[in-house]
């Protein structure tokens, strides 16, 4: 006998679990996101180096950005230093770093580090000047920020 054809329902994939998956990803990114603290005014392409150390506590640092201004057409191609949200001159580096260190509690001051995030094309003239400035205020720990360079085997 011929079976009478039943009106078949359209087959759909259940998307009920989709929000769960998306939420999971969302929470991951929400937790890991660190909002950028400083708006960069200089172009910084970090140099790559094979062996690297990891900075332990970012609260105990002062960051100096070094590179050409992003608005080169207005500000010129001369490399500049940036701290927080503004440009500084090389003569102000010492005072800035000292102020940052003084803001820490006394037992933490020995762990203070100056992080230099400089463009790889920066001339050593400027870096040496920064180092000399740091030496004169006796803030001696430096950390050069780099990206990981995978060594060729």
């Amino acid at each position: 006998m011929f079976r009478k054809k039943l009106p078949r329902e359209k087959l759909t994939i259940s998307t009920a679990a989709l929000p769960d998956i998306v939420f999971m990803l969302l929470f991951f990114f929400m937790v890991t996101t660190v909002m950028r603290e400083d708006t960069l005014k200089v172009q910084v392409a970090l140099p790559a180096a094979p062996v690297l150390e990891t900075l332990n506590n970012q609260a105990l640092t002062a960051t100096i950005f070094v590179g050409q201004p992003i608005r080169t057409e207005v500000l010129g191609a001369q490399e500049r230093l940036q701290v927080d949200d503004h440009f500084i001159k090389i003569g102000q580096v010492g005072a800035y770093v000292l102020a940052k260190r003084e803001a820490l509690s006394p037992q933490m001051r020995s762990k203070f580090k100056t992080v230099i995030k400089a463009d790889k094309g920066t001339k050593m003239k400027l870096i040496t000047a920064i180092k000399e400035a740091l030496k004169t205020v006796n803030v001696l720990n430096i950390h050069y920020a780099c990206t990981q360079d995978i060594p060729k085997v």
């Binding site: 998307t15 009920a16 989709l18 929000p19 998306v22 939420f23 990803l25 969302l26 990114f29 929400m30 890991t32 996101t33 660190v34 909002m35 950028r36 970090l46 140099p47 790559a48 180096a49 094979p50 062996v51 690297l52 150390e53 990891t54 900075l55 970012q58 070094v66 580090k113 992080v115 995030k117 400089a118 463009d119 790889k120 094309g121 920066t122 001339k123 050593m124 003239k125 870096i127 040496t128 180092k131 740091l134 030496k135 004169t136 006796n138 001696l140 720990n141 430096i142 950390h143 050069y144 920020a145 780099c146 990206t147 990981q148």
Partner: protein, 188 residues
Amino acid sequence: MRRKIEEINTGSMADIAFLLLIFFLVVTTIETKKGIGQELPPITDEGARYAPRNILTILVNDQDQLLVEGQILLPIAELKELVKTYYQNQKKDPGLPESVEKFIPGLGNRMVSKQVISLQNDMETNYGIYVQIHSILRSTLKELRNEAAVREYGVSYEMLKKQGAHAKVSSIKSLIPFTISEAKPIKT
């Protein structure tokens, strides 16, 4: 007859979640925490004096080329082996750095190399190459200290640090001192 409970349509929930997800994806910046540490020497009135044979001079010019002990070094990766050969000086070559016997707490008398690395660069040298040289020197130091730690204690230097064996760490440090001078050293 009982009324059926109305269900809220959750179809658009995924859309909302996607919107938020994309926002965070865009905003996220992976902060770089990696880098190379350096401790600057304090300002002193007079420069240290070293015998010429103990100084390994590395010059970097504005073309990012290396001149090590008066010889052009082409691949930068060779620097590591060179520094090691200088440091260990196993053949007691008079042109290479000398070692002196020194008492090290916890180890006794050991031969300690007197090598000093002098790194000098041109005003126009690029920062990128400078960082690379630094990182190579750091990794050489790490390897030398690891070798020494394995020889003396049977564990690597990294392990000693992790275990918090401060006395052993400082003995290895004084067994393999590593001085990088960036000032112009005065030859005696």
